[in-house]
Symmetry: C2
Subunit: 456 residues, 2 copies
């Protein structure tokens, strides 16, 4: 098999696409810690979670044992519209770098949401529809998740209410219009439609909002409107489950050509992309069947894995959502303005956090200007204009490939290219103009935020 | 073969991709009329053309006889980065429309330039590089062509100077930044760098520029700088030759499943997409081997085929370029602001024009608001946010599918989805807000413009 010539892009046939998601928790010796009720500090029950999330998603959230879960036919049909995503051999990048390393990337940007978020959005929307709900609510910052959810809801004829952080709403009118094209209602947060929004506007006149507030508004609306539930695009176990489709496809494509990666790299904000990409490979490692090196890449401005603490913390800054045990910088931590909006989250998926704590992977943080230099280098030889988030993984993939150039090792590197940067051109412009800033939080800042972690 | 289940997306294997372009002129009984020297009104010689274009491209421009021309390996390698493009079965759209028609579209938007323009950009850049040139110049309006050329030049390490119509330069900073990411120099036109630019700025202080002026600037720079040539993204015979890769791939994908389209639909501005998509099918029709119905779709605000005249005219408003025999509204015609920037051209490819004049295809014009309604309907069920240009073809494909619904005919419809609309959200916003205008030129306006056609 290994002698077959490897094309630039490996596509699976439709009948080779995964029919089940893989739940890496089933193979973890130390399971991720349960979510806690913010009032009682006791593990959230299915009933409690059912007030916020759809029943089937609650079951997936709590299921630490079932290794494979069927992907319903309706979701598989939707996947067929934009999947399989290509596994690309980065021949041109390898040549440019002059490295003996073999570089592959799984490209998730070839859909209108522009990222991997659609993989979980359709699943969450599907279960909401199946439960007979009228609609779902969510928050969005940079807009990828809101766009993905709008697309999924439009397809299923489900109402979609998006609370978009006000500064993004005003600065990213294009993202907003894409969501409107898909029929979603997009409300700048804080709004005057919710109690928490009214309070925020009264307490902080002229505020431009925050993700924490937008989450709280979306949850308030979901729990107060008949027939609505709240959905979230990252962090949760269920999201990582859905995103396993990335890794399953990547692995199937590599297996077709007898290729085994040595290093697997993903950017990590809430952990949905990295968690999804690495899951089947991590499963083999957990079961002792194979070994891989996993690298999580985070921005140096928001370094939850590399400089945070593994502890229970609130998932939202409003502190109304359950607590999760995760690597966190503290729910009070306000990441410096960093153009990779999708990585500006104070915490990390409990699954990724547990695996990191148990030594199954390593993490590195990278500076924003270095990330954009890598993005530009990549764009020029591989043709794809990457999202700032994805470019974190590109930066480290290039670093690893250059190490191979020094040592002469022919390592095989796989990284996740989560999306495209078409809606991030202000950031590229700042980079071109030399006005991009790299904020590095001080130890004192992080310590101050961590000192406020809840006592659990 | 026909009984095989047809997937949502048909991808060719790398070894099934075309190795030659198809030159439809070889099968045309009435060849497209030659370009004329604007000074002498005599057919342009290869030598005359060689002052503006690369030698190899001049040869392709003048070759009306060779049916198949090899695609150089270097270009095929580049094609492999983003091709084959998927041929998509629009199952979801068919279901939504309730039509017995089978709808396919060839999607050219899955590359960073966001359109099919890259197919010719890499070819033109390659021949420039091969000739030992330092760089190329071009103009761009909406920005797709400039982006595509920037990508191709970056890949080949060739300098790229883009003259971007000033109003677009200011209104579309994102497009500009994408080009800068690929290392192109982007100059707002009229500039103070050229004689024609200086004159325009002096004669019309505060002018926001025009495509005609940008062309003239790009040509002036190409012909005055050592080692530079000018390149153009549409209209020319050579461009249609390169774009035949669209149709060749589409036909190969359909042939694999034994599918024969009844109707082939493309949007038509300068004609590069439609000409490319239809070429191998048109070849069969010209040779009497098969019959197809071809439909060119143009905006009602710029209806060169449906309301223009088949005559010699200038290709640019500055009247410095050669004259082409084509359907034209007159080089003085100023199309009303229409968001489908790629279709705002006063003339039409000489090849497409000749085929239309000879009765091999028909043309329809559609209103902009109807186009955006179709675009939104398509986006919601097929997931892809289409470019305004491409949406002209969507509109007519939907119309034809609905006719089938009435008659019960199970026609097979193929249309070209040339690109994505990520950089056209202002237009979508105007549509959502109900402020989009549909300009219909009066007969008097068109007659007045046509009265000024050159006497050849």
């Amino acid at each position: 098999m290994a002698s077959k010539e490897i094309p630039y892009k490996i596509y699976l046939e439709e009948n080779e696409m995964p029919t089940q998601w893989y739940n890496v928790r089933a193979d973890m010796k130390n399971k991720p810690a349960p979510l806690l009720n913010p009032g009682t500090l006791q593990p959230m029950t299915a009933q409690e979670l059912g007030g916020v999330f759809c029943d089937e998603l609650v079951a997936q959230e709590l299921d630490n044992d079932t290794a494979y879960i069927d992907i319903p036919d309706e979701i598989r049909d939707f996947y067929k519209m934009y999947r399989p995503s290509p596994l690309v051999r980065a021949y041109c990048l390898e040549k440019k770098l002059g490295t003996p390393a073999k570089i592959y990337y799984k490209f998730e940007g070839n859909n209108t949401s522009g990222s991997h978020k659609l993989n979980s959005a359709i699943a969450q929307a599907y279960y909401a529809k199946k439960q007979g709900l009228k609609g779902v609510t969510t928050e969005t910052g940079a807009g990828q998740w809101g766009t993905a959810l709008s697309m999924a809801c439009s397809y299923l004829d489900l109402d979609c209410k998006v609370y978009m952080v006000k500064c993004s709403y005003e600065q990213k009118p294009f993202r907003r219009e894409v969501m409107r094209t898909y029929g979603a209602s997009v409300t700048p947060s804080p709004s005057m439609e919710t109690n928490i929004g009214k309070k925020m506007n009264a307490d902080h006149p002229g505020t431009t909002g925050s993700l924490g507030c937008a989450i709280s508004e979306a949850v308030e609306v979901a729990t107060s409107l008949e027939g609505y539930r709240y959905v979230l695009g990252s962090v949760l176990n269920q999201v990582l489950l859905h995103q396993s489709v990335i890794g399953l496809e990547a692995k199937a494509a590599l297996d077709k050509y007898g290729i085994k990666p040595d290093i697997i790299i993903g950017c990590a904000g809430g952990g949905s992309n990295l968690g999804g990409l690495m899951s089947p490979f991590m499963g083999e490692k957990l079961r002792g069947e194979a070994d891989y090196e996993f690298i999580a890449v985070e921005p140096s401005s928001c370094p939850s894995l590399t400089r945070g603490k593994f502890a229970y913390d609130f998932c939202d800054t409003g502190m109304v959502c359950p607590l999760a045990k995760m690597y966190t910088l503290g729910s009070n931590y306000i990441p410096a303005p960093n153009h990779a909006g999708g990585l500006r989250y104070h915490g990390m998926s409990p699954v990724v956090s547990q695996l990191y704590a148990d030594g199954y992977m390593r993490a590195v943080s990278v500076k924003q200007t270095d990330v954009f230099a890598a993005a530009e280098q990549f764009a020029r030889v591989e043709g794809i204009l990457p999202a700032p988030e994805s470019s974190h993984a590109i930066k480290v993939a290039i670093d690893e490939a250059l190490k191979c150039k020094e040592t002469g090792e022919e390592k095989t590197i796989l990284f996740g290219l989560t999306g495209t940067g078409y809606f991030d051109m202000y950031a590229y412009e700042a980079f071109h103009n030399g006005t991009m800033e790299c904020y590095l939080p001080t130890d004192e800042e992080i310590a101050e935020s961590l000192a406020k972690l809840p006592q659990v």
